[in-house]
Subunit: 315 residues, 4 copies
């Protein structure tokens, strides 16, 4: 088992990957950038790939969302979330006054934008393919400093010049493990299903999609829109729903969306990494779905009833 990840070593992505059971005994392959990870999964040079998909501060990771709707298809087999902590680091002896260039991944730059503007207003900011690569660049002297994870300082012999410099404390990043299509992990009762959909750009089509989901008692946990390449004013809607493709309610909702959307891409069902509430709240209180999500038994009973009605049996 070979698993690619957004490298080099010491990225937050590698940290996240190491928390997943799939990483045990696997060969972990650092790759230069999320598009490279997706490409490697697609061409079979790795069996799976780990990339960040969403951050509580910066939001979705656009190239990952856009890469997921390309061909051939990929699915999410697992997710992990870890807290992110950014440090400013340089070669030993570097002083802040002497920093004229600082590198980081675009996400790291975005999350420390305010701090950098305040403390290093004159420094030029360079975008690297990862925070770990930025640390490597600092170690090689290509930049004066890097914004990266504490681990990267250790690994590259850098000195931490300022710790915990994110503009917003407590950021958490969610990572996903991607594979080529295959049977999903078994339902656990606390799962997520990820979709991407486009519709004709007419009034009310988005409300129509959300009603298909809500009427079946399914909780929508996230929605993002991304422009459809080359088609003005059309969007991919990236949707996260609570539930598993094996659930009858989810299956019926997916089939309904498939009929209603111009394109619907199924991106996987997998265990949720956020803690389940004591009382699962999925769908309860959802508008339209006043009675909560129906169970597999409810569906089986209603299907038996329908079959009896159709053949004219006494029900």
């Amino acid at each position: 088992m070979r698993i690619g990840f957004l490298g080099p070593h010491a990225t937050f992505t590698e940290q996240a990957l190491l928390t997943l059971p799939e990483s045990r005994g696997a060969e972990l392959v650092p790759l230069p950038g999320a598009p490279a990870v997706l490409a490697a999964v697609r061409d079979g040079s790795v069996d799976a790939g780990c990339v960040p998909i969403e951050n509580t501060v910066e939001g979705a990771v656009p190239p990952v969302l856009d890469g997921l709707v390309a061909d051939p298809p990929l699915v999410i087999a697992r997710e992990a979330r870890i807290a992110v902590r950014f440090c400013l680091m340089g070669r030993p002896g570097t002083t802040r006054d002497a920093i004229r260039s600082v590198a980081s991944h675009g996400h790291g730059i975005a999350q420390t934008r305010g701090w950098l503007a305040e403390h290093l207003p004159a420094a030029e900011v360079r975008v690297s393919s990862s925070t770990a690569e930025a640390a490597a660049q600092a170690a090689r002297g290509e930049v004066d400093a890097a914004v990266a994870a504490p681990l990267a300082a250790t690994q590259h012999g850098l000195e931490v010049l300022a710790d915990d410099i994110a503009d917003n404390a407590g950021a958490v990043t969610r990572f996903v493990l991607l594979t080529r299509p295959g049977p999903p992990p078994a339902p656990t009762g606390w799962d997520r299903t990820t979709l991407a959909a486009t519709t004709t750009n007419r009034p009310g089509t988005l409300l129509g999609l959300l009603t298909e989901i809500a009427v079946r008692g399914i909780d929508l946990t996230r929605i993002e829109s991304r422009p459809v390449k080359d088609r003005h004013a059309e969007y991919w809607f990236h949707l996260d729903c609570s539930g598993h493709v094996a659930d009858p309610a989810m299956g019926e909702a997916l089939a309904a969306l498939h009929r209603r959307c111009d394109r619907l891409i199924y991106l996987g069902s997998f265990p949720r990494s956020d803690p389940a509430p004591d009382v699962p709240a999925a769908g309860v209180g959802s508008p339209v779905a006043a009675l909560g999500v129906a169970t597999a038994d409810d569906y089986a009973a209603s299907e038996r009833w329908l079959a009896a009605v159709r053949r004219g049996a006494d029900t």
Copy 2:
């Protein structure tokens, strides 16, 4: 084949029944009142029964609606509609001044209420089990006059004292042919499905039911509420929908209602007796269902897609 109908002979119901193909070669059995017709179908003493269900002036026929939700179950196999025309009739030589009592079926009384109040304000009005029976009562001298169909005057040797006395011209009554449960007639593309449903009496439950129907592109053509016997503030909702139980969209809607309702009674799928529009409008423009009702092919395609997704195939 024995078919019961709301008798005696010469009722509007018999007129309607004679327009149905099922009446050819069948033994037509007049029965005293709609409850008697339903009971005869239930106990097997007839194979089918014909009763009025709805009138464009007077609305639904309450004892028929209430009888349909009783046990054991019945289904509608066919419908017919005929224009109703009421005459005042009496024994030859009767003058209006001499009329002190007039009989009709409750529906006939209701539809000529204004005319009777204006022209026969002093007459006592008696309810009969049918308009034809009222004519028979007039012929026997039990009442001075009857409000009934023109045919009843001919049949009972009565004289028409006033023609076309309905308060509202152009009334049409819809009749249904009931049977014990059995396979429905084949879909024709212009069918009706009739249901009765109860829900817990909570805010929004009716909206929830209607959304289940609308989201699947199904057109609701009629809704009636009738109190549930012995349960205050609870209602049976009688629903007519455009479409057939064999349609995938209707099947999915029925299964969804079955899960959501306290009780759901399927009352049959059968060809509509009103003329189909040139361009079938079913569901087009329906709120929520912006794309109209999905066809069987659409459903089959979405089911194949879902099955592929569930087994992990490349879609």
Copy 3:
């Protein structure tokens, strides 16, 4: 103050009227039938009128619903509900075997249909303008027996031949006090608003109406459909909502319905006669309206905010 009611004396309607504060010191005027009561209010010969509108067993009273949507307009100023109890009564010495004719109001006949069919299968059933009139007819010897309230037996010197003969025990009838349009009674916090609406007969229009109500957190407590006279396949929808026309949410909903409906008739806001729940449930849990009905303060705050936004103030 003169108040007409569905007479003669001793009807259930008079019983209900006597429970209303408006009846104290008023002249109570028995009138022959609900249409006569509505007409007397309209022409000013009485100041108010009391009629039954709905029964837990038989449902709505069609001529009252139909009369309410006629011109000139009327409004409901108050409602009352009383339990109904039907007795079979005849002149002293009458035996059941001897009964060949029995009279009652159409509602009384409907609610004792089963009992009469079982115990007096051979008797002819006559419709009277009220149960009290039926008792008077029995007292005058025009019929052998009447189905009426116990009070009617006392008043007309009749003997109760069978008590509590309703097919369904525990029936409750709701009565309304009608006036010409005028300011509604002040809100009490537990009020009802009654409406009648027609829409163009297109798919989804009923769902649209109900969504206008639900989105504003208003609970729909009753819906009836009645055919629009002379217009096939069009219906008046009679709606009861929880709340008062003075409530901002109700006002906004009414204005929205007024824009959306072909015709919208406001039929009054008045205190509810059913007991309020310990915790008012209005709108809570309503689909779409996830947050319950907004209060007048909520509306005032949002209106102030909107006014500030429109004039370009810093909000």
Copy 4:
């Protein structure tokens, strides 16, 4: 009149600003980055500010969205859209082989990511505060090349090394002119209203928001979600609607959202920069709102009706 813009001179933003009538005779002030533009408008050092908000390829501009929901409030007074065309440029004599560093604005980098990966795989990519600044850096020799607008090559004496290198042709960027709160421009009949909203994170709340908009016949043209800083799993929803805050339908929808949302920020009503359709389609066909958006006259009529009903007048 002083107008700040995302500088330096020769940016796409300046190009867009020059198409707006407000730029005529105004002093145009280049500022280093979108946050600086927003800050300058807020602190009064400029009267208005121009920044990009959305691109058909890259989607929304996160720091602008995030900046708009900060305090004190800002509003959009105008929008413009221009096609974007990226060139690779360097000092005269530069050959592609010699390029080891290339600078651009983050947006420019994102839109030429594929081209750079293919043609300059070894070059380090630096993020600049604008494409024009990147060109200036190239002119100063701080980087070997820049990705910028053709105009920037002319202005900085650079040579175009590759033209039209965007990964997706035909990209259009929308820019907004921001001011401190003030009266909006007059309605033109083809306007846009921009909002940002947060709700409690419960199932169905997003559907509730969208229903408030749809039920009033308002067309939602864009939705973006951005995480609420420091609050996990909560989102700002950025919404663009067709219509003007002065429209009654929009006013009522805004007031309703204000009652329903945790926070609702009004971000301005202004003329749309995309061409109006021949037949304005706003709201027609919208789910729930089967009748399209009501006009100001419709609202005025319904308000007069409501006022009459409330005071008890004969309507």
